[in-house]
Amino acid sequence: MIEYILKRLIWTPFLLLIASFFVFFMGNIAPGDPAELILKNRATPEKIEALRDDMGLDEPFIIQYLIYIKNALGGDFGESYVFQGKKVTELLIPKLLVSIKLNIAVTIVSISLGVPLGFYAAKNYGSWKDPTIVLTMLFLFAMPVFFTAPFLITIFAVKLGWIKASGWNGFFDTQIILPALTIGIPSATIYVRHMRASTLDIIGQDYIRTAYSKGLKEYTIDTKHIIKNSILPILTLLGFTIAGIFGGSLIVEIIYGIPGVSRLALDAIYQRDFPVLTALVLIGSTMLVLANLIIDISYTLIDPRIE
C-alpha cells in the first residue's frame, strides 16, 4: 500500500505538468495576437512588435511554456489581456472564493437531502417507498438547470417576492438559497444512489443479523452498525464538490448572476482572455488531482480491503 501511495505521489507532478502543457498549447493555438488584443485600437505595427518582444511572444513555444510554468509555480499566472494591468491571480481569487462558498452550500443541501433519503430508501427496500424515492430522484436529476433556475426565480422571486432574483451577497445571505437548491437537489440523487447501495450492502451482512438477534434496539443498529459503515463510500463523492467549483455551477452562476469562476471562464472565452482561462483550468486540474489523491489515499487507509 505504501508503494501505491508513493507511486501516486511521484506521478502527480508529472500528471500536472502534462496537463498544463496541453492547456498552454490550446491557449497558444487559439486565434488572435495577444499583443493586438491588449493594444486594441491603439495598435500600430511598431507597437505590436515592441509588445510582442516585451511579452516574449517571439520566443519558441517550448521556451514560453517553461517561463510560464516557472512563474506559475511562484503563483504568477501573468496579466489579463482584457483588464489591463491586472494580475490574473487578482482577478481569480475573489471569484474562486465565491464559487467555493456556493459549492459548500450546494454540498450541504445535497448531503443533508441525499444521505437520509438514500438510507430511508434502503431501509424500505421491497416496499413502494423505495422505488418512489429512486424514481423521483432520477426525475429531478434529469431536470435541466435551464428549467429549474428560471422556474425557481419565477416562483420565489417574481411571484412570491421572498428572495431577490439574482446577485451575490456572501454565504450567509438568503440569496444563496435558490442557487444552492438549483444544483443541490439534482445532485442529491448521486448521494441517494450511493447511500442506498452501500446501506443495502451493509444490511445484508451477517453482523447486522447478529445485532438484531442480540435484541439491540433498531435505533442503535441503524446508527452504530449500519450508518457508521455505509456512510464511508460517500467520502469518495466529495471529489464532486471540488469538480463542482470549476464548472459544475456554470449555468447557475450565469442565470443567477453570481460572480464566480464559471462566469469568469465564460467571459474569458468570449473576450479571448486566454491567460485567465489557462490559469483557471490549471488551478482547477491541480485541485481536482490533489483532491482525488487525498480521497484515494484516505480510502485505502480507512478500508484496508481495497488495494
Binding site: 500528471l15 426525475f139 428549467f147
Partner: protein, 317 residues
C-alpha cells in the same frame, strides 16, 4: 451457429426488458423523440431559419403549432431540427469516443498489458485531470476558428462547396470537444473486463489454435464483455446530449441560424441576462425545448438503470 447465438441473446434480453412496463414507456418516448428528429425534413412545417417579423412571439396556432419566437420563426420546426442536430452529435460522439477510442483502447490495454496499458491509462488520467466542463468549453472555444479556417481552405482549394453552410463545422467542433469526456470511463470498464477474462480457457484455446489477435479481441473477447459496455453507453447518451445542449446554450456549440435546443433555450433566457422579463411574458417558448431535453435525459437514465438490472443481476442496486 454464431447467428443463432446472437438471436437467443437478444430474445432473452427482450423477454426481460418487456416485463418492465416503465422501461417500455421510456423506450417508446425515446423512439418517438428520435423518430421525430430523423424525420425533421419531412414533417417540418416551415423553414427553420425563415423569419417573419409580422408574427413574432405568437402563441400556438394552426399555422404555427407551438407558436413563434422573437424573430417570428416557427418553434415546432426549430425544435424538431434541434432534435436532429442533437441526434447527429450524439451519434458522432458515441461512434468516435465510445466505439473507436473507448472500446478499442480498452481492449488493447487489457489484452496486451505492459507498455500499451501504462501509456493508455496515463493518457486517460491526464484527460480526467481536467474539470469536465472547463475542458469542453476550452476545446470548443479554441478549436472552432482552426476548424473554420480548415473548412475555408478545403472549400477554396478543392472546389467543394457548402461545407461551412452545412453545419459540419459545428458537428466537428462539438464532437471533438466532447471526445475526452466520452472515452475514458468506457475504456477503463472494458480494460477491467478484459483483464478478468483474458486468461479464460476459450481465449487460451483460440490462441493455441493460432487465431490472430484481432480476431481473438473482436470475436471472442468483445462479445463476452458486451453487456456492461451497453449499460455504460446507454448511461452516457443522456450526458452527451446534455453537454451539446449546454455548449449551444452558451453559443459555443451549434451556431445560429441553425436550430438547436440549447440555442432556443438560450434565446428565451437571453443566456441569463434578461431572463425574467422574457420568461414572465412568454414562458411557453421555453417549454417545448426543455421538455424534450428533460425527457431524453430522464428516459436514457431509466433505460440505463434497467439494462444494468438485466445485465448485471448480481448488483441489483
Amino acid at each position: 451457429m454464431k447467428h443463432s447465438n446472437s438471436i437467443t441473446f437478444l430474445k432473452i434480453f427482450w423477454n426481460q426488458f418487456k416485463k418492465r412496463k416503465f422501461a417500455l414507456i421510456c423506450l417508446a418516448i425515446i423512439c418517438t423523440v428520435y423518430l421525430i428528429g430523423v424525420l425533421a425534413p419531412l414533417i417540418s412545417t416551415h423553414d427553420y431559419s425563415e423569419t417573419d417579423l409580422s408574427r413574432t412571439q405568437n402563441g400556438p396556432s394552426l399555422e404555427n403549432w407551438l407558436g413563434t419566437d422573437r424573430l417570428g420563426r416557427d418553434i415546432y420546426t426549430r425544435v424538431i431540427w434541434g432534435i436532429q442536430n442533437t441526434i447527429i452529435i450524439t451519434l458522432i460522439t458515441i461512434i468516435t469516443g465510445s466505439f473507436l477510442l473507448g472500446i478499442s483502447l480498452g481492449l488493447a490495454a487489457g489484452y496486451f498489458r505492459g507498455k500499451v496499458d501504462i501509456l493508455i491509462m496515463r493518457l486517460g488520467e491526464v484527460v480526467s485531470a481536467f474539470p469536465d466542463i472547463l475542458l469542453i468549453i476550452l476545446l470548443a472555444a479554441t478549436l472552432r476558428p482552426s476548424i473554420i479556417s480548415l473548412a475555408h481552405y478545403i472549400e477554396d482549394n478543392m472546389g467543394i462547396k457548402g461545407i461551412l453552410s452545412s453545419g459540419i463545422v459545428d458537428y466537428l467542433v462539438i464532437g471533438i470537444a466532447l471526445l475526452p469526456l466520452s472515452w475514458f470511463g468506457l475504456m477503463r470498464l472494458v480494460r477491467g473486463q478484459v483483464l478478468s477474462i483474458r486468461n479464460a480457457e476459450y481465449v487460451q484455446a483460440a490462441k493455441a489454435m493460432g487465431t490472430s489477435e484481432i480476431v481473438i479481441l473482436f470475436r471472442h473477447i468483445l462479445p463476452n464483455i458486451i453487456s456492461p459496455v451497453i449499460v455504460s453507453i446507454s448511461f452516457s447518451i443522456g450526458a452527451i446530449a446534455l453537454s451539446e445542449v449546454m455548449l449551444s446554450f452558451f453559443g459555443l456549440g451549434v451556431q445560429p441560424p441553425r436550430p438547436s435546443l440549447g440555442v432556443m433555450i438560450g434565446d428565451v433566457t437571453a443566456r441569463g441576462g434578461a431572463s425574467i422579463s422574457v420568461l414572465r411574458n412568454h414562458p411557453e417558448q421555453l417549454l417545448a425545448p426543455i421538455i424534450v431535453v428533460w425527457l431524453m435525459i430522464f428516459c436514457w437514465n431509466i433505460i440505463g438503470d434497467i439494462l444494468n438490472d438485466i445485465f448485471n443481476p448480481k448488483n441489483q442496486y
